[in-house]
């Protein structure tokens, strides 16, 4: 890729750590990889965990630190879900890449340049099972001269035989203080000021996802200037205002179906994501103390059903209306079974 103009990159890219030691909060993997830099030994790796926690960053950083800019291209193969990774591609591309010998491992300057190549399979959870199976053999055949880095969000989507060949590292969501440190660093570089309240808001709206936090920060900085408040961040994060969730809950309590339907229509017209509405409704329901556990259970069950349906692509309005209807029936102690369903 051509050298990039710094200024034309969004902040998430601009502030992507270039060195493994700068990856925040993932101490275990940082320790192992720092060791790798000294000994040049490296097992196959499997990184998994939620979005925006540093998986891709870490893999790219170690690859760069091992080989340096000159050898990088010939030693590192990065395949991600945007490349076709059917069985054939896995067989041919990886074979072609792995088969070319690397020669002896000669240290070049600061770069250890170990005598193996690295294949980074980012977003490996979207590979088909067949393709993953095809990889087993390839991994064995070239085990002397290649190291695989698998990266994914869901470890359960990686077939056991692959997972068991790797050293596994779970990337954890970033806690508030770590996130705040990183954010403060960026604010420093960009000449922004944020107060502690804003920092804590940022961490809660981005739910441990640092990429999201950085994007919100940049959005807020562009929209509201260099002094950023908690309110600015909430507004760019698209969180649903409390009043809206509370109005829905109150409508359920009232027992008036038409009123509840009106509130649901309002949520849809305002464009609030229903998946997020469900999450916020869940917090309200769990938090209130004037309803029984059984009522809570009924509501949570319907939230869970709707969540699954949404993932399957079901309609947002219909799902929310169903949840609201179930919630109303639970709160108003209407029977769980329908009367006319035969």
């Amino acid at each position: 890729m051509a050298p990039l103009l710094q200024s034309s990159q969004p902040w998430v890219e601009k502030y992507r750590p270039k060195q493994v030691k700068d990856v925040a909060h993932q101490d275990e993997v940082v320790r192992v990889l720092t060791n790798t830099l000294e000994t040049a030994n490296c097992p196959h790796m499997l990184f998994y965990g939620p979005p925006g926690t540093g998986k891709t960053t870490t893999a790219l950083a170690i690859a760069h630190q091992l080989y340096g800019p000159e050898l990088y291209k010939s030693r590192v193969l990065e395949l991600n879900a945007s490349d076709d990774r059917g069985i054939n591609v896995v067989r041919t591309k990886i074979k072609d890449f792995a088969a070319v010998a690397v020669g002896s491992g000669q240290r070049q300057g600061v770069y250890p340049c170990p005598p193996y190549k690295i294949i980074i399979l980012d977003e490996a959870d979207s590979m088909t099972e067949d393709a993953q199976n095809a990889l087993r053999r390839t991994m064995e055949t070239y085990s002397k001269v290649t190291r695989f880095f698998f990266i994914c969000n869901y470890i359960s989507r990686i077939i056991e035989p692959l997972a068991s060949r790797c050293a596994k590292f779970r990337f954890k969501q970033l806690p508030e203080e770590i996130m705040s440190n990183r954010i403060l660093h960026i604010c420093n570089e960009e000449g922004l000021t944020v107060d502690t309240e804003a920092l804590s808001t940022l961490s809660s709206v981005s739910q441990g996802d640092l990429r999201r936090a950085i994007t919100y920060l940049q959005g807020a900085a562009r929209l509201f200037g260099s002094s950023i408040s908690s309110k600015d961040l909430i507004s760019v994060s698209g969180a649903i205002p409390r009043e809206v969730t509370e109005a829905i809950y109150a409508a359920c309590k009232s027992g008036d179906f038409d009123l509840a339907n009106k509130e649901v229509n309002y949520v849809i017209a305002e464009g609030y994501p229903v998946s997020q509405m469900l999450a916020q409704l869940f917090e309200v329901v769990v938090g209130v103390d004037d309803i029984s556990d059984e009522q809570k259970a009924r509501i949570c069950k319907s939230l869970a059903t709707a969540d699954k349906c949404l993932v399957d692509g079901a309609d947002e309005y219909l799902q929310l209306l169903d949840v609201v209807s179930n919630t109303m029936r639970a709160l108003c102690n209407m029977p769980q079974e329908f009367s006319y369903d035969i």
Binding site: A81, T215, P273, Q276, D315, L318, Q319, D322, S325, F338
Partner: protein, 354 residues
Amino acid sequence: MLWVDKYRPKTLDQVIVHQEIAENLKKLVTEQDCPHLLFYGPSGSGKKTLIMALLRQIFGTSAEKVKVENRTWKIDAGSRTIDLELTTLSSTNHVELSPSDVGFQDRYIVQEIIKEMAKNRPIDTKGKKGYKVLVLNEVDKLSREAQHSLRRTMEKYSASCRLILCCNSSSKVTEAIRSRCLNVRINAPKEEQIVKVLEFIGKKEGLQLPPGFAARIADKSNRSLRRAILSFETCRVQQYPFSSNQAIPPMDWEEYVSEICSDIMREQSPKRLFQVRGKLYELLINCIPPEIILKKLLSELLKKLDEELKHEVCHWAAYYEHRMRMGQKAIFHLEAFLAKFMSIYKAFLIATFG
């Protein structure tokens, strides 16, 4: 030209609704480092209008010189090559397409197009390398695979290619994609705002609006600006000068749905079900999306039912819409919903009236 197109604001300064968002968008693109954007909101709320005005803000009038092309992609999928055809709209600095139009093969399109765009990076006036913009419509309809394909590409080529994604329901866009964009919510305009737009158009067309007329159209529009403008134009065609009690005609297909509802409330029998099947087919043939039909059916039924039945019927609507999404033939599930309704309603009638 239809009024919806004729009076679509061209620049961020001209918008009548969403003025605040327009101002914000202007600030967002003052620097070269704008993040990817995801526009979401209900149909007819003005997403597309804002996106086009934003492109114009970034690239100037050249963004308006678009050509429509039917492009074919030859995809090398290992053992075979796949030909994919898709309509694209493009100017020198941007490309717009709806990859979900090619169905489950949409991932090939997103894979190819971004790499292709990243390769020919434009040079801006100051001699700096600028970025191109790829507008993807209906990203909520993209397959999982296509959405997964976008993830790393969005990061990798972000210096040369910025994405503007557009969709109705952001719940259907994966977390990973949402986490890579600045999310811009475009809510449906309030009725007062719709009235403002209608009055603006009325003035431009030199029309005399009776008091309360625009408000009545807005009230019937379900907060969709597009729909309000369309029915305004229909009214103009049907009768001018307007009279203050002039009827606001519903859409043809909606009347049809109302008929179906009356049919099934009057009689619940296999014969009746067979009759309405024909009507459902008619709607589907006219390209009314099945989930829209189902929602309209529900809303018509809810107007007429007892409180207790409302809960049951809305539950089954949600249930069958989900099944419809998982299945293949919409007609089965629409009909199943109607059959379910008939059975519930009949049981209710018997229990109530014997």
